[in-house]
Amino acid sequence: MEMSPKRGANILIWAVLLTMPYWINWIGGYTSLGSRVMVLALAAMSLNFLLGFTGVLSFGHAAYFGLGVYGMGLTIKYLVPSTVAGTAVGVVAGAAAAAVIGLLIVRLRGIYFAMATIAFGQVFYFIAYRWNTVTGGDDGLSGWHRQPIDLGFAAWDILGSDRAFYYWVLVCFAGATGIMAALLHSPFGRTLLAIRENERRARFLGIPVDRHIWLSWMISCFFVSLAGTLYALLNNFADPHDLRWDQSGDFVIMAVLGGMRAFWGPLIGAAIFVVLQDYVSSQTQNWMSFIGLFFVLVVVFFPRGVLGILHRPSSR
């Protein structure tokens, strides 16, 4: 059987992700840099489910990411020392907030929607920032760390081994992106493409557009809060800045940088972003200007993002 380019790319990406901890040191990286790429890639891909495949721009995804972060941190610190419990709390908190806020903003479109997401997002930032006694305020939430995962027959020591933690991130990443990919190839996913392409036509084909946008928003926010729980584990720390609008902006930059019409675009964008950040910030304080400059160049010369160079809009 002949292999399609798409299938080839998928195999390549999974091969790279599966083996990364075994060669990343040779190319000057380190395992937790790989974990960081994957966590932020998951956040950017979740955002892109809404942005690239439903045509709806959110500038407030850091709120749900941050709820994942704090859900994890607060659970382990105050409730139960369990990574799995923290994941559940973080994801439920993120999804619950998204459900309510989604209902309030789902009728808005374009820039009005984006601004409403920022406004609601900032509420969570201020809560984390002000509520010193619980969240640690501006200092962040420290004094806790990720917990080994009890598999029944053995413990998965994600605390003691960066490599073990990498594979925990990979498992979550694979599950989340697998579900998103499957959804995008389903009738439901195609209604989202329809809304992105032409809302009026979608509506007059009988798609209740607001309801489908709300569902897409929920899926997107659910997985971005999962990414948040992983980010908390990665840092063993919860930072109020994880909730702030500029963190949302980073996710948008990653998606646009890599190519928001390509499923794996935000992964490439996140890799570029994280590696540049890691490298440039060790050379200069002003790394954000470099990212900004790079971003502008990509948007000007490759409006479809880095993967957009390879990836013409495909018909299948």
Binding site: R190, T191, E197, N198, R203, F204, R316
Partner: protein
């Protein structure tokens, strides 16, 4: 039996009267044409029936049910399907995908996160069938945005048909088309009407098309109904000739 009953609807935009006190009753299986000069309110009238706009006053009954204030999607679920004067399609998706989306919605799959092989195959067959009927077989895998105007319009009409409507509203389907394309679309519409007994309301500028296809014609001018009758009656109507046909 009348499928659609529009009862003295009006629609004002501020002080502008786009549609004023227009009534229309369309029988099952009828092909009704709506004609009138530019700005007569024909598209606005369609917008009221399809739910794009709600009337300032009046009532719309479809299949015995009052639909005056229903949301567009709910009217689609009840069987009203439409095309637009300016083509509305999914430009960055292929013809096959455009049709597939419509077929899946018609099959009630819009919230389904997966399809069985059998369901998927049935959807593909139906989409391909629509493609062939619309004369789009040779462009099936192309992006709709890259197609000729005529093929884009044909795609939109086939999407509207994919929904298995009880009432099809076509807003100037042959606008901007060449002779061959106009002929193809006209033949398709006639076939839907004759063979499938589909109820159709058609806005059309091309009088050859109108007189060739329509069972009855309604004439609008400045938002009001000027005349209504068979093509023969309309052609003989002096007010229509004065107000409309004479200009052309």
């Amino acid at each position: 039996m009348s499928l659609l009953q529009v009862e003295s609807v009006s629609r004002h935009f501020g002080s502008l009267v786009a549609v004023e006190n227009v009534s229309m009753s369309v029988e099952v299986g009828e092909l009704r044409a709506v004609i009138g000069p530019n700005g007569a309110g024909k598209t606005t009238f369609f917008n009221l029936i399809s739910g794009f706009l709600t009337p300032t006053s009046g009532r719309i009954v479809f299949g015995g049910e009052d639909i005056t204030n229903l949301l567009p999607a709910r009217r689609v679920w009840r069987g009203i399907s439409r095309t637009f004067q300016l083509t509305e399609v999914f430009p960055e998706l292929s013809v096959q995908q455009n049709l597939r989306i419509a077929v899946e919605i018609a099959a009630g799959y819009r919230l389904r996160p997966w399809l069985s092989r059998r369901e998927d195959a049935a959807v593909s067959i139906r989409a391909t069938d629509l493609c062939n009927k619309g004369g789009l077989a040779n462009v099936e895998t192309r992006l709709v945005g890259e197609l000729s105007h005529g093929d884009q319009r044909a795609t939109e009409i086939m999407m509207a048909l994919a929904l298995n409507p009880r009432l099809l509203l076509l807003d100037e389907p042959t606008a901007g088309m060449g002779d061959q394309e106009t002929y193809n679309i006209t033949r398709l519409i006639r076939q839907l009407h004759r063979d499938q007994k589909l109820t159709i309301v058609l806005i059309e500028h091309d009088m050859r098309v109108v007189f060739h296809l329509a069972d009855r014609i309604m004439v609008l001018a400045e938002g009001r109904m000027l005349a209504e009758g068979t093509p023969r009656e309309i052609a003989a109507n002096e007010r229509v000739q004065a107000a409309y046909l004479g200009q052309a």
